[in-house]
């Protein structure tokens, strides 16, 4: 008997306890933090943007950058090509800045109420209590309220701070890379974000450095009628490696709230960036009331030869998810990956997938998408694999599986391919399955109850993607799926 069995059973045991705990709870992140806030009144015009920029003590070039984006945005229509039922959003009814009154200081000075909030969410910010080996940037509504392990990271030459701080402290890096992957006018929501983004994380890994710990940002929406527009930029110089995690939650509210983020990744020669998301924004209630509109542009640029960018996402929250983390494979032999689990229940809608743009020679991409639909939800995979003329011997493999639970949900697949180079090999496999009565009966005849059986089968279905997540996140993701599927059977 190998020790591997011990390992497996030990994992199984721990998971079991957590499953039991998870099944007893509902959307546990739905609480509201009572804290004195400051912010801008609802409404959006050039004055709003100037005011926002002033609050953040931004240099002139940044203000101008925002204004240019805003003017461009005014000329753009809101896209309607996704398979989503999205009510018109009143952009004048949203407040574009909300922050705890007490400004961000060092970690020791962060308002205890905020520390408590993150503690409750399972993200302790005190370094002695923090997850070992994970540095956290905590973003509360529009601002970063603290970043852990900065000293240790600085010693390695890694910059990990809020975007606001980066604009002030590292303007040359921000100017060089911001908007270089997702231009301000890229799409409607990206343009809006460029105009009004309030905070987010900035990561810079210098040449040859392997980041000594996992970096993570925890996004929390708390204030009412606020939109969260975060902007994240990660740059890995030649030969640098970094693994970055992102988590998100919001209180339960009857109104829909907007979250329109932009994430840009830049990988230079031989650099590797692994970006993982566990998205658990409030999904709305079982009748489809409330929930976050999660309209996000995420893109990575494999700018250097032999670079690699890998996206892993577990999407369980949000009333609406519109998100296509993509990779531009510019460098020769660069590699792009996308691993996704998207679960929708009740009236949730997800239209998500990826784009792999092959430009360099011998570039490779791999897409594994697992969509799970339950209740009356709709879940679409939308993916583009594009092979440009010069992308000799480009290679793509796409696997796209859908799992249906119940009879009133929908799963849809929209794979697009544009291949302009005859030496390219592009493969697409798709399956749609239901949890079969046979599987359910098999589990139940062994003593496993219905809900546990569904969790188990779904977990098995997602295994390929969960394997890509860092350990703590894999456990979290699994728990989330179970909670999200409560009441999906019977």
């Amino acid at each position: 008997m190998s020790s591997e069995i011990t390992e497996t059973t030990a994992t199984a045991l721990r998971d079991n306890a957590e499953v039991a705990e998870a099944l007893g709870r509902n959307y546990s992140a739905g609480f509201v933090t009572e804290i004195e806030m400051t912010g801008l009144p609802p409404g959006l015009d050039e004055e709003t943007i100037r005011a926002l920029s002033a609050i953040k003590r931004e240099p002139e070039w940044m203000t101008e950058w925002r204004l240019a984006a805003y003017r461009h945005w005014l000329t753009m229509p809101q896209p309607d090509w996704a398979k989503l039922k999205l009510d018109a959003i009143d952009y004048q009814a949203i407040s574009y800045y909300a922050a705890p009154k007490q400004g961000p200081k060092s970690l020791d000075e962060v308002d205890p109420v905020l520390l408590e909030t993150y503690e409750k969410l399972g993200v302790p910010l005190h370094e002695r209590a923090a997850l070992a080996g994970v540095a956290v940037d905590a973003v509360f509504d529009s601002v970063s309220v603290g970043t852990t392990f900065r000293k240790q990271l600085a010693e390695a030459g890694v910059i990990f701070c809020s975007m606001s701080e980066a604009i002030r402290e590292h303007p040359e890096l921000v100017q060089k890379y911001l908007g270089s992957v997702v231009p301000t006018g890229d799409n409607f929501f990206a343009a809006l974000n460029s105009a009004v983004f309030s905070d987010g994380s900035f990561v810079f890994i210098p040449k040859g450095v392997r980041c000594p710990m996992e970096l993570s940002t925890y996004f929390r929406i708390n204030a009412q009628n606020t939109g969260q527009f975060e902007r994240t930029l990660i740059v890995a110089e030649e030969g640098a490696h970094v693994s970055y995690l992102e988590g998100c939650t919001a209180p339960k509210r009857d109104e829909n709230q907007l979250h329109a983020a932009v994430v840009e990744l830049v990988a230079l020669e031989k650099a590797q960036i692994k970006y993982s998301t566990v998205q658990n924004w409030y999904p709305g209630d079982e009748n489809g009331v409330g929930g976050i509109y999660n309209l996000v542009t995420k893109r990575g640029d494999c700018r250097g030869d032999d670079s690699k960018i890998s996206w892993t996402q577990v999407e369980t929250g949000s009333a609406i998810t519109w998100k296509y983390p993509s990779v531009v494979l510019r460098g020769d032999r660069s590699v792009g990956e996308f691993h996704s689990v998207a679960l929708t229940h009740h009236y949730q809608q997800a239209d998500t997938g990826t784009k792999m743009i092959h430009i360099g020679k011998d570039t490779k991409s791999k897409i594994v998408s697992k969509g799970i639909s339950a209740g009356r939800s709709n879940n679409s995979y939308r993916g583009l694999v594009k092979v440009e003329k010069g992308a000799e011997r480009a290679r793509n493999y796409t696997q796209c599986d859908s799992l249906l639970i119940g009879k009133k949900c929908g799963a849809h697949t929209f794979p697009y391919m544009e291949v302009k180079n005859p030496t390219a090999i592009v493969e697409h496999e798709a399956t749609t399955s239901k949890i079969s009565d046979d599987q359910m009966f098999y589990c139940r005849s062994r003593g496993i109850g219905e809900e546990d059986a569904v969790s188990m089968i779904v977990d098995g279905f997602c295994k390929q993607v969960f394997r890509e997540l860092p350990m703590e996140f894999a456990v979290e993701a699994k728990k989330l799926l179970e909670v999200s599927l409560e009441g999906a059977v019977g």
Partner: protein, 255 residues
């Protein structure tokens, strides 16, 4: 232990079991034989509570409890186990994880303490020895990519770990070559005990060469038409099921 009285059951509106009665005492091995379509597998499915099998009359008591009133998982916890004719694949779910979840769910339902990983590991090790199963099988997903023989052995292995009071083997011999059959039978025999009863459902006498039954029943036309000791199986082997039809109730073309 198990008392089936005048059991009638329908599948998709068609009556398959038509007044089946059977009594099994602890430690007994009963073989249920019969032609195709006689209702053998239906019996196993009705006893374990599969959806789509509607009991229209009769009763089943198990250790004094009305078995038919229980959900499938509660029947499992009460000690009923079905070795499937066609074991189901569950992609991505580790075999060991599955078995441990099953055992602990049953223990929890019975108010027993759940096993921790070390205790479970110890149990698995013991049972592996008896079953001669390679531990490589444990690391794979439930039945995924298993050969026919591996699937059947995995069923018996599950039975060994779950330690039921009543094990129903549904055509466990089907699709096995003689070596695999012997291995499976050996695993079953190792689990015979004065407390554990077996219902061995089979089409062929062959399996009974290796698992020796205390009683043999012939199921035809939805009821038991003949019962006897193991020599009955040999008679069937010799004369075929046509012989039963002449002696017992007509099986009926549709049964």
């Amino acid at each position: 232990m198990l008392k089936i009285e005048n059991l009638h059951a329908r599948v998709a509106g068609k009556e398959i079991l038509k007044g089946l009665s059977l009594s099994v005492k602890p430690g007994e091995v009963h073989a249920i034989m019969g032609p195709n379509g006689a209702g053998k597998s239906t019996l196993g499915n009705v006893l374990t509570g599969r959806d789509g099998y509607e009991v229209t009359a009769g009763s089943v008591s198990f250790d004094g409890v009305d078995l038919l009133a229980l959900e499938p998982e509660a029947r499992a916890a009460a000690g009923v186990f079905l070795a499937f004719q066609y074991p189901v694949e569950i992609p991505g779910v580790n075999n060991t994880y599955f078995l441990r979840a099953a055992l602990n769910a049953q223990r929890k339902a019975r108010g027993e303490k759940e096993l921790d990983s070390m205790q479970f590991l110890k149990l698995v090790r013991e049972k592996l020895k008896v079953m001669q199963i390679s531990d490589e099988l444990l690391h794979r997903a439930v039945n995924e990519g298993f050969s026919g023989g591996e699937k059947k052995r995995n069923e018996i292995f599950q039975m060994a770990v779950l330690e039921p009071k009543l094990a129903i083997l549904d055509e466990t011999d089907s699709g096995l070559d003689i070596d695999a059959l012997k291995q499976v039978a050996q695993g079953v025999n190792a689990q015979r005990s004065p407390q554990r009863s077996f219902l061995v459902i089979t089409h062929y006498q062959r399996l009974l060469d290796y698992i020796e039954p205390d009683f043999v029943h012939v199921l035809a036309g939805g009821r038991i038409v003949e019962s006897g000791d193991k020599t009955l199986a040999l008679k069937l082997e010799e004369h075929g099921y046509a012989w039963v039809r002449e002696h017992g109730e007509p099986a009926g073309a549709t049964a």
